[in-house]
Point group: none
Chain length 140, copies 4
C-alpha cells in the first residue's frame, strides 16, 4: 500500500480560475479540461466563443498528459515521420494528442492529473494550461 | 434564417451552482454536465466522491435530453420489452440514455440545451438536474 | 453477372418529397434518410423542429432496413427477452435499429435501398417512411 | 442568455441547389453536406456518380468547418510533419478533416454552420462548397 496525493474539485477550480484569467488576458476563448490521475474528467468549461471541436481535443490533451505523464507537445516532438513515436496519435481510439496544450500535474514527483486547453494556437493553448498549473503549484 | 436563444457559460454556471447546492443538501456527490442546444458540453464538474462511470453517463444524459428534447426518464417509460422504443438505448453509439437524470432546457418553447446528473439513484439524479433547471428558469 | 435496378438521386428526391408532405400533414417535423442497396446514404434532410438524436437514428433505420432487407419494426417483434433475435440491436456498433420507422425498398423483388424516419412516435415514423415508399412504387 | 442566428432547412436547400449547379458545371458528381452550428447534419445528397467513401468525408468536412469555425484547407496548412497542428486529423475519432472542401458559414460574424463537399479533387470540392456558401450570403 502507498499513500498518494489526489486532486480535489477545489484544486481543479483553482486551476480553472487561473487558466480562464490567462485566456481572457490573451484574448482567446478556450475549452479547458482538468482530469485526475486516472485521466478522468474532473472539471471542464467552454468559454462562449471557444470551438466545439476543441471540447474533445481539450479533454483528450488533459487525458494524454495525465495518463502518459508527459506534455502533449513533448510527444509531438518525437512523432514525426521517421521518429520513434510516429503514429502514436492514432492509438487509444485516436485520443492520444501530440500537439501542445496538455500538461501533466505532478505533486512531490507523483502524477496527480493533467490540464488540457484548446481553441487557440497550440502555443496559446499551452500558455493557458501552464497558467492553471502554476496556480496550483503556487498554492501548495 | 431564424433567430434563437443560446445558453452562455454564465447561464450554465448559474445552473451548476444550484445543482451542486441540491446535491450537497441531499448528501450525494454528483457528476453534473450542462450542454448547449447541439448537445455539446458547456460545463462539467465531478464532486469529490462522485463515480467515474458517471462522468460519461452524466454527459450523455445531458446530450440525450438536449438533442432529443425530452427527459431521459420519459424515454425509459417507453423503452421496455414490448414497448415502442425498445432498443433505443443502444442507438447513437450507446449514448442514448433512458433512465432519469437528464432534462431538456427550453426557453420560450425553443430547445437551448440540457442538464444531466449521475452518481445517485436516478430519482436523486433528476432532483439535482431539476434544481439546476429551476435556477435558470427562475433567473429569466 | 446480373443486372439489377439501382436507386437514383431523382428516385430518392421523389420519395423525400412525398415523405415530407406526409410529415407536414401529420404535423411532426422529421429527420428523413434514404439509402441505396449498400445501405449508404443517398439523401437526407432534417426538418426545422426535428430532433438531433434522430439524425443518426433515421440514417441507421434506413441502413438496417436496406441492408437486412426487412422493416425495423419486424426486427423489434422478435428482439424481446427470450425471443430469437434478442440483443441484435447492439450489433454493428449499435447501428441495428429494432423499432418502427425503417422500411426496405424492393423493385421487382430486388432490394434496392431503404428509407428511415425519426422524430415522431415509431408509428408516425413508419407512416412517413411508407408515404415515401408508396410514392416511388406508384411512379414505376 | 444570448440570441444567435440559426440556419433553416430552407437556407440549406438554397445552398445545396447552388452547390449542385456548380458540380454539374465542372462535371464532377459530388457528395454534399450542410450542417448547423453544432456540426449536426441538416441536408445531404449524393449525386449519382459520387463516391461512397465521400459520404462520410463530406459530412465530416462540414462538421469540422462548422465546429472549428475554419476551413478544412486552413487546417491542412498547419498540420504537416513539424507543423503546430500535426496529428489533429486523428482527433475526435478521426472526424477532424484537414484537406480542402469544408467551409464554415458565418452570418454577422456568428458561426451558424458548415458545408462540406467530396468526390472531386480537394480544389474542386472547395469550389463547389464555395458556390453553396456564396448563394447563401448573396441571398441575405
Amino acid at each position: 500500500m502507498k499513500i498518494a496525493p489526489k486532486l480535489t474539485l477545489e484544486d481543479a477550480r483553482l486551476m480553472m480560475t487561473a487558466a480562464e484569467k490567462k485566456a481572457v488576458e490573451i484574448g482567446v476563448d478556450m475549452d479547458i479540461a482538468i482530469v485526475d490521475d486516472g485521466g478522468h474528467l474532473l472539471l471542464f468549461q467552454r468559454m462562449d466563443n471557444a470551438r466545439i471541436t476543441s471540447i474533445t481535443i481539450a479533454i483528450d490533451k488533459a487525458f494524454t498528459a495525465a495518463a502518459a505523464r508527459k506534455s502533449t507537445r513533448a510527444y509531438g516532438e518525437v512523432s514525426g515521420p521517421g521518429q520513434p513515436a510516429f503514429g502514436i496519435n492514432t492509438s487509444i481510439g485516436g485520443r492520444f494528442m501530440i500537439f501542445a496544450g496538455g500538461l501533466p500535474i505532478f505533486i512531490d514527483d507523483q502524477p496527480v492529473g493533467g490540464i488540457g486547453c484548446s481553441s487557440g494556437s497550440p502555443g496559446q493553448d499551452e500558455e493557458v494550461a501552464q497558467a492553471g498549473l502554476d496556480a496550483l503549484l503556487g498554492s501548495l
